[in-house]
């Protein structure tokens, strides 16, 4: 499904966090949301998974305003993997992934054969099937993120929303996770901190700064030296290498002068 964020503004506790933000994610695309800390990235995601209501503007998914859908109906379309969600260490991997079926069931429904099949498939797609009876608390950081991704897949979403999914992971686990998201192929909007990983993995990038979209488009267009200097405060060049991969090279004096 196509995600359309149109002129969204959000004010939290009297402070304006987002101003007239618009962006689109087409079906099958992997779009990276980047920007310095406090630029409103997580808040933008919250408007999409129905946790922070926009003061103005609409968030449409598949043409419907997500805030006009019920919480459950919206969660059948959008799945989120969030930072710092305190998943109980005593749940097994299978039980954590089963949580993804929550929006598909009412109070009186029990888990069906179909649910088990979907849970199994989600575990298989993320390579976590051998871990099904392990305790979540006994896994490494990378394994935990893959379990949370499997949980999101069990929601059978049309849109995946990821908030810094590679945070705190070691370098191999970062590559593994982003590869996995690409292979899974669900339409994805991901907040990413690591510009190198964002440049390498995403189809398009959107840059937020001070609650506004300051650039959006193909990776190389967005990561211009001007944006890297003015938004991120670093002297750097992004270029496509002969192997087809976009890499960022930081200057000898990486701190840009014009950024305070």
């Amino acid at each position: 499904m196509k995600l359309q964020v149109q002129d969204v503004s959000v004010t939290l506790a009297g402070k304006q966090i987002l101003r007239d933000v618009s962006l689109e994610v087409s079906p099958g695309e992997f779009v990276g949301l980047i920007g310095p800390n406090g630029s409103g990235k997580s808040t933008l995601l919250r408007t999409i998974y129905r946790s922070a209501r926009p003061a103005t503007g609409v968030v449409r998914l598949g043409g419907d305003d997500v805030w006009s859908l019920s919480a459950r109906a919206a969660a059948r379309r959008t799945a989120a993997v969030l930072q710092n969600s305190p998943t109980p260490p005593g749940l097994t991997v299978g039980e954590v992934v089963a949580l993804g079926r929550t929006p598909h069931h009412g109070l009186f429904d029990r888990e069906s054969k179909e649910d088990h099949q979907i849970i199994r498939e989600s575990l298989e797609r993320t390579g976590m099937l051998p871990f099904v009876d392990r305790l979540y608390g006994s896994l490494s950081g990378g394994e935990r993120q893959r379990v949370l991704l499997a949980r999101a897949l069990a929601q059978q979403p049309a849109l995946l929303v990821l908030d810094e999914p590679t945070n705190h992971l070691d370098i191999r686990a970062r590559f593994e996770l982003l590869d996995l998201v690409r292979v899974v192929g669900v339409t994805t909007l991901a907040v990413l901190h690591d510009l190198d990983l964002a440049a390498r993995s995403c189809h398009r990038l959107v840059v937020l700064d001070g609650g506004r979209v300051v650039a959006a488009g193909p990776v190389l267009d967005v990561l211009s030296p001007e944006i890297l200097a003015s938004v991120f405060g670093v002297t750097a060049v992004a270029e496509r290498h002969p192997d087809g991969i976009v890499r960022i090279t930081y200057g000898p004096e990486p701190l840009a002068q014009d950024a305070a």
Binding site: R46, G90, L91, G137
Partner: protein
Amino acid sequence: MTMLKLRSTARPRQARAPRPAPFHAVPLPLCLAVLCGLLVVVILIAAGVGSVSVSLADSWRIVVGHVTGQGVVVDPALDQIIWNFRIPRVLLAALAGAGLSVAGVVLQALVSNPLADPYILGVSSGGSVGAVVVMAFGAGALGGLGVSTAAFLGAMLAVALVFLLGQQRGRLNPVRLVLSGVAVSYVFTSITSVLQLQAEPNNMRQIMFWLLGSVAGAHWDQLRVAGVVVVAATLLLTLFGRQLNALVTGDESATALGIDVRRLRLVLIVLTSLVAGVLIAVAGGIGFVGLMIPHLVRMAFGSDHRRLLPLAAVVGAIYLVAVDLLSRTLDPPNELPLNILTALFGAPFFIWLMRRDRSMAES
């Protein structure tokens, strides 16, 4: 289906990793069937033991006779003892054990705090004020209200206060809720203390006994009302397993899983307060059950609330029936208040379990 080549997948690290709970893989219906069978046996044993001993078979025949409407099938005197005195008392113990344990599970998840128990929202201290007013100054003190009604109203007053104080910008904040509960409990407890000091010395024993919890006064009339409320609310609560599993992953994550977190908290607070309030009214403040049983069941059967809720209900019922049996057989013909035994036997057992449980140490 895409299988990624993931290096770490090849060899799940089993060494030293905490293991799932021992009965985690046993299907829920089987666990429930075994435990329910055990509960029936414990209830019959408890009904048979006392100043007049009744065999297990006779207890069974008496109960079956009444339940199936055949009426009195053995010696009428025995029937009277079992059906009118012991069974109500044992059932109230079972009811209290089940209700408090389920309320404990729910509140621990609701405020994401392992120290939470059914009284965290001030139910027991509020109930105490109501009950002690009536016991110390007679039924006239509150316009003719009985101890139970006064206790229930006191409990609801305390919960309402805690609920209002626990709001922050129109939303319930779990930390505020817990702190409000503690503060309100202190206020009500000191009011209870003042009342106790004013009370006649010959009322003191009754007050002490009530404060420490007892099912000795159980009778069918009272059981009918309390039973319907507690059973209905507890059964309803056991349906929230999936929602509670989502809730313990945090408000944001639960929202993303399609849960209306605000409404869920509200519904759960109302139901648990009702259970705890009614039980306070009929059995006084039975402590520690609602804290210990949830942890005990988690250690034995795993943390999935879909299993935890029904299992905690049955295990809690068995536990409190056994404790009540002990309370009246340890020092006959005297009875000990339940609170003394739930803690005296429960706490050391709990500490032992906790120390050998590695998954708990990691969390």
